[in-house]
């Protein structure tokens, strides 16, 4: 599927691509390197990087699906977190690894922290009796179809969030909020997700909607945060003194 297919229209048209490279074994610090790639209309950054592989420049980057369903190719493109397989190549693009996580090589970052945190927030439906029958209201199906099922956990929104700098921040980050909302909407879930979200720092969100802006799938985690906040407010207005004591939280 790589460049043997490249229908090169104009061999003269060459675009420059700048990549921040770093090999922990040989390099002391990262350095910028520029490459020339032929340009085909609607060619994506992934294809440019693969073209470089074919030329023998093995820039390390993760990719799998090339159709934005796996979320492994997130990187900073011109400083903006984007999926490489979803970004059409332009001249003078700058590629960097995500800055929130440790860099292992070139554009590959260490995402173990995400896995750990997902475990921490219990992003599966927490339920005492999982075998029970349940009905699902149509709006939940719609919400899943339009929002929750679509998150590919690419970590672009985490990168863009000004309220959550790293995995140790008080606010976990937009992606986790969205996944919590997903779990909260699951018909089997019996955990008090509103309180959990409060404890996980949704009140630190600055509502800048930057996460919605960078999301490659046009989801809006900030909206989920707002929904959580609204629910928390209405809940505590209804039962002003019980909210904190509510022990449905495992």
């Amino acid at each position: 599927m790589t460049c043997y297919l490249l229908p090169i229209e104009n061999p003269e048209a060459r675009y420059t691509l700048h990549v921040l490279r770093f090999n922990p074994e040989t390099d002391e610090k990262p350095y910028w390197r520029s490459y020339q790639v032929p340009f085909v209309s609607t060619m994506t950054v992934i294809e440019a990087l693969e073209y470089l592989w074919d030329q023998g420049e093995y820039i390390a980057f993760r990719t799998n699906c090339r159709e934005f369903t796996c979320g492994s190719c997130a990187m900073l493109i011109n400083g903006k977190p984007q999926l490489a397989c979803d970004t059409i190549l332009q001249d003078d693009m700058r590629l960097e690894p995500l800055s929130r996580y440790g860099v292992l090589r070139d554009l590959v970052v260490d995402t173990e922290a995400i896995k750990k945190k997902l475990k921490d927030v219990k992003y599966w439906p927490v339920s005492a009796n999982r075998e029970k029958n349940f009905t699902v209201p149509p709006q939940v199906i719609d919400a899943y179809g339009q929002i929750y099922s679509r998150c590919i956990e690419c970590a672009c929104c985490l990168e863009a969030c000004p309220a959550s700098f790293n995995e140790a921040s008080r606010f976990d980050g937009p992606m986790y909020a969205l996944l919590l909302a997903r779990a909260a909407n699951h018909p089997l879930d019996a955990m008090n997700r509103i309180q959990q979200a409060s404890e996980r720092g949704i009140w630190a969100c600055v509502s800048c909607f930057e996460c919605a802006d960078v999301c490659p799938l046009d989801l809006s985690p900030a909206k989920e945060v707002a929904k959580f906040r609204r629910k928390a407010i209405t809940q505590s207005l209804k039962r002003p003194f019980t909210f904190r004591k509510d022990k449905r939280y495992e």
Binding site: L5, T42, T69, Y123, W124, P125, G145
Partner: protein
């Protein structure tokens, strides 16, 4: 590169792979009380083609006349009766349980107003029976499985490529793996191994480009048999233009009522198959499209047009949201414009021979998912694969856990195997050939040739040409295969080169099987033998290793559940497709 094993794991069940089959096997084995380790070449849940599967899973017989028997017949007819019938029976009977199981794990699938699952029809199915979630069913399925794996706390290692299965006295005792992240070797001692490394469609220029078929070679080396390697299914509607759009335009595009049009704006499928029209089986549609293109009625960039412009726009946005969004990001509005598609390789139907208990010929080696043969026969029915990986992932996990409970760890007696494998890697790294051959160049050439000669329309001449090329590559190019990047961490060039060495074996098996089979059946269509020949070729072509030599054998299919004569209408036909 350190040339010794750096890390040794001991576990009950080792699961190789990271797609849905591997996840399901890991979950079942953990539930049975075994100690499980999952090794994945990519990142768990983000690698493989499970998250990319769009369409649906055929497991919910919603129509009152529908039953497992009809699903079974559909599968057999599509597979040209080459399927392993015991396996297909299990698939059709046990499938429906898994939707609710996945929903317990955290997925949620589309439902109708009355609360039952929505279903859609795929090509070759007689009834609507595929449960879906928009057109990202596989992704939603992985969402659930990934959550369950996290909940159970299954031990997983990402970016570890298994190189070889280790055997002692013909029984599995573990595996040797290369940690891509660190460039270190890992040895795993296990009582049972579940192989779920997916098919080898990446040997062709396919959408699932990462599936390079190393699972096949590992199983073959360990002593298992491979069958049906000639059946590479071409997905008829694969994104072709605009250029950057990747991946298949899922079958839901046709299932929701999309048309295929040639350059004269004519629904040409009406001529080829007036009954099923666009929803004929994939093998047939692919050949029809190729015929149209060869007849000069192709679209502007060499594909064929596909259009949903006649459907209501909100229906498209809801039911085909991934495709819609995919094209939208390139400035293409599928609500208003037809797109250009072309058949591309999609799924290699063959693989490791496993029985209905997911056991292979090697004691202790279980195979599940796309890596196995037998379920799909000569042609996979759309949306059967996702059921296959769930059902047999589950069975393999369970049986592996049982075995682990009953046997003890073998004394590891595989030193020569480990050394041989480490030497293979070390040689590759250390080699400085005078006329080096680089992996990408070799891979590109073989991509092209496999697509041309072992593609949709095959001829004896082309296949033999390919065989000669493979032989030449093995003799001349492989010894000179070198890598430029000598570092240890994330050395993707090394990974590709290691895969390159293995894929030639798969190419050879595919081509040899295709030469041998002098008929057309399912996705194996030969221009020189365009008819199905049931008298001679109701046989599987099986490969195995005997004294380090690849042996090819034709074996008659066992009709243990249903004989072909029970479907007289089908048996009377001599068209390769159903």
């Amino acid at each position: 590169m350190t040339l010794q094993v750096d890390q040794v794991y001991t576990t009950d069940v080792l699961v190789v792979g990271g797609g849905a089959a591997a996840s399901m096997a890991a979950i079942s084995a953990t539930n049975e009380g075994a100690d499980v380790l999952v090794l994945d070449k990519g990142q768990l849940g983000k690698s493989g083609c499970s998250p990319n599967a769009h369409g649906g899973m055929a497991l919910y017989p919603k129509h009152e006349n529908d039953s497992w028997k009809i699903h079974f017949e559909d599968t057999l007819m599509s597979g040209g009766f080459l399927n392993n019938q015991q396996v297909v029976r299990v698939l059709c009977q046990k499938g429906f349980r898994f939707v609710s199981l996945l929903e317990q794990f955290g997925s949620l699938f589309d439902r109708d107003a009355d609360g039952t699952y929505s279903v859609r029809q795929f090509g070759g199915h007689r009834y609507k029976r595929s449960v879906f979630s928009g057109d990202e069913t596989g992704h939603e399925m992985m969402n659930g499985l990934r959550r369950e794996i996290a909940r159970l706390g299954v031990k997983t290692r990402d970016e570890v490529m298994v190189l070889r299965l280790l055997t002692t006295d013909g029984e599995i005792c573990g595996a040797l793996a290369l940690d891509i992240a660190k460039g270190a070797f890992i040895e795993v001692r296990a009582k049972a191994v579940v192989l779920a490394t997916a098919d080898g469609s990446g040997i062709w220029p396919a959408a699932a480009e990462r599936q390079r078929g190393d699972g096949y070679c590992m199983a073959l080396e360990a002593g298992a048999e491979l069958a049906d390697m000639e059946f590479i299914q071409y997905h008829p509607t694969h994104a072709w233009w605009p250029y950057g759009v990747r991946g298949s335009v899922s079958e839901s595009f046709r299932a929701e009522g999309g048309y295929l049009l040639n350059s004269e704006g004519e629904r040409f499928m009406l001529h080829y198959d007036p009954e099923q029209k666009e929803l004929a089986t994939r093998d047939k549609v692919s050949v029809c499209i190729y015929r149209e293109i060869l007849a000069g009625r192709g679209a502007r960039h060499g594909g064929i047009y596909a259009s949903v412009t006649h459907l209501p726009p909100d229906h498209i946005e809801k039911r085909l949201r991934v495709i819609f969004r995919k094209y939208m990001s390139y400035g293409f509005d599928i609500r208003k414009q037809p797109i250009e598609i072309r058949p591309r390789p999609h799924y290699l139907c063959g693989g490791v021979v496993a029985n209905d208990r997911a056991e292979t010929r090697v004691p202790g080696l279980y195979a599940a998912g796309a890596v196995t043969a037998g379920v799909h026969g000569a042609n996979r029915l759309g949306s059967n694969a996702l059921v296959d990986i769930l059902v047999f992932g589950d069975i393999a996990g369970r049986n592996a856990a049982h075995r682990a409970g009953n046997v003890d760890h073998k004394r590891m007696n595989a030193k020569t195997q480990v050394e041989k494998e480490i030497k293979r890697v070390a040689d590759l790294v250390a080699k400085s050939a005078i006329e080096p051959v680089w992996t990408p160049i070799l891979r590109r050439r073989h991509f092209e040739m496999m697509d041309r000669y072992v593609g949709v329309l095959r001829t004896d001449e082309g296949l033999r040409h390919m065989l000669a090329e493979i032989e030449r590559t093995q003799k001349e190019d492989l010894p000179n295969l070198s890598i430029r990047d000598k570092s240890r961490r994330y050395n993707f060039e090394l990974r590709d080169a290691l895969e390159m060495q293995l894929r030639l074996m798969v190419e050879e098996m595919s081509t040899r099987a295709a030469v041998t089979r002098t008929e057309s059946r399912g996705s194996h269509f030969r221009d020189d033998y365009p008819k199905r020949d049931d008298r001679q070729w109701l046989k599987n072509i099986v490969f195995f290793k005997k004294d380090d030599q690849l042996v090819c054998e034709c074996r008659a299919v066992e009709m243990s559940v249903m004989d072909i004569s029970e479907l007289p209408a089908y048996a009377a036909l001599d068209s390769p497709w159903h």
